[in-house]
């Protein structure tokens, strides 16, 4: 039982940090009413802690497509993309992603986590190097670890620091993969892509950008930071997820490098797992079309983002540097963060609570995610409630 005692120690440490806060993680959602409301316990709450950025979870087009796919093709593929799991829809979605990003090829993975695992571990291996932003998502860290490449971190969004580390690598930069994210999920800030591109060219590296949180959110057609900055052609590989603005589950990688196709034969996270279900693929295809043409949704989303960012910052909260769909109040201690989180729930508002070490620089976060389906009144109510509760963190 010695093995299991380690988990007991971890549980005790978690309890010691937040004696009453254990329920803040994995909170039971009893019923979902819409893209913005659900029931938690006996409360009807406003959802401000989802990744449903375009508010498409109940889009009739997506629901209809999913229904039809289930009726026609059943509930699951029961197999890998390598074997019996590549239906027409999977291949069509890959083509649609490639066209959307004007790339020669695209690969669909079963989750966004696996898209990063599979792409990174397929591109680099022992003897190669990955240079990653220090605030990278766990799927990026895990993909790097799986690859066996040497992992070097640079300070979050600090280009001087990134260049210093590139310089130190010497001629190893030619076998270096640089990894950044379009929008970072903790503070909602964007990567300085123009500068990253300049450095990756100067040092002759390959660049992978994870557009998980920026897909659908940034750019005229929602491609993400690549479109927002006009740098699509400069990024070698783009990964992303279906689990946020596309409101289903799955992931992708697109590229103009023909070598991307080889990942299908070497990447374990692609091969040794079942492919997404037909309904998932069908709703994602419908959602991608809504995303691409959803200029009005992005407009509504950004109105909501700027309104809430202004309200929280006006109320005195310390926020991340950029307004966007992820708006995090940065709080000094876990106890303050938990108290604020609990009080918000008592006011029927659900947000995310993030504690160290998951939150950067030893701080805690009370993080809101805004979506296009939130009404101005809902956003106002959230802003006013935060404002009323400010004394809890000050």
């Amino acid at each position: 039982m010695k093995l299991l005692e380690k988990l007991d120690a971890a549980a005790a440490a978690r309890k010691a940090l937040l004696p009453n806060g254990v329920g803040a993680f994995g909170i039971p959602i009893e019923e979902v009413y819409s893209a913005t409301e659900a029931r938690i316990g006996n409360r009807r709450v406003l959802l401000l802690g989802t990744n449903n950025y375009l508010g498409l979870t109940f889009a009739p087009e997506c629901i209809r497509a999913a229904h039809e796919a289930i009726d026609k093709e059943g509930t699951g593929t029961t197999g890998s993309r390598m074997a019996n799991g590549s239906y027409y829809g999977h291949r069509a979605l890959e083509k649609e992603f490639a066209e959307f990003y004007k790339c020669s090829s695209g690969i669909v993975f079963t989750t966004g986590y696996q898209a990063n695992l599979g792409t990174i571990s397929g591109l680099v291996g022992p003897g190669d190097t990955v240079l990653i932003d220090g605030d990278s998502h766990a799927s990026i860290y895990d993909g790097c670890i799986l690859s066996g490449a040497d992992i070097i971190r640079f300070k979050h969004n600090d280009m001087g620091d990134m260049e210093k580390r590139l310089r130190r690598l010497g001629d190893r930069t030619e076998t270096t993969l640089v990894i950044a994210e379009g929008i970072y999920s903790m503070l909602g800030d964007q990567a300085p892509l123009a500068e990253i591109v300049r450095l990756k060219k100067a040092y002759n590296c390959i660049l992978l950008l994870d557009e998980a949180h920026s897909l659908g959110v940034l750019g005229e057609t929602g491609q993400g930071l690549v479109e927002h900055t006009g740098l699509l052609e400069e990024v070698d590989f783009i990964t992303g997820t279906f689990s946020k603005s596309l409101c289903s589950i799955g992931g992708f990688c697109v590229s103009n490098h023909p070598q991307l196709e080889q990942l299908r034969y070497v990447s374990h996270p692609y091969i040794f797992t079942a492919s997404p279900s037909p309904a998932t693929i069908a709703s994602t295809r419908a959602a991608l079309e809504l995303l691409r043409t959803g200029t009005h949704l992005r407009k509504q989303l950004w109105n909501n983002c700027t309104q809430l960012y202004a309200q929280l910052s006006g109320a005195g909260y310390h926020l991340g540097p950029d307004a966007g769909p992820v708006i995090a109040a940065i709080v000094d201690t876990p106890q303050q963060a938990l108290l604020l989180w609990q009080k918000l729930l008592e006011h029927n508002i659900y947000v995310n609570l993030i504690l160290p070490p998951a939150a950067p620089e030893g701080k805690s976060l009370v993080r809101c995610s805004v979506n296009a389906a939130h009404t101005t009144e809902q956003i106002n109510y959230v802003g006013e409630t935060f404002s009323k509760l400010y004394s809890l963190v000050n």
Partner: protein
């Protein structure tokens, strides 16, 4: 490994670790970073960045999987430094 480079690394690590921990414990080469000093994974990763800058070397964080004690951390840094 008793050369002065190694001693310098050890001294630097002990200084930085004592600044990073709330523990009153006297830090020795055998002190465990996690169970005794409660240095969490992010603090350790950031410490590696600092050491990289101090010695102007690249220390891949993969090497940390084998590191539990101050001595093991010093060994890792020494190895990278002496092969760079």
């Amino acid at each position: 490994m008793t050369d002065s480079n190694y001693d310098e690394i050890m001294r630097l690590l002990c200084d930085r670790l004592s600044a990073l921990t709330d523990s009153e414990l006297l830090i020795t080469p055998d002190t465990n970073l996690i169970s005794q000093l409660s240095i969490d994974s992010i603090k350790l990763l950031n410490l590696i960045m600092e050491i990289e800058d101090t010695f102007d070397v690249s220390i891949p964080i993969n090497g940390l999987t084998d590191v539990q004690t101050v001595r093991q951390l010093a060994d890792l840094v020494y190895k990278v430094k002496s092969t760079s």
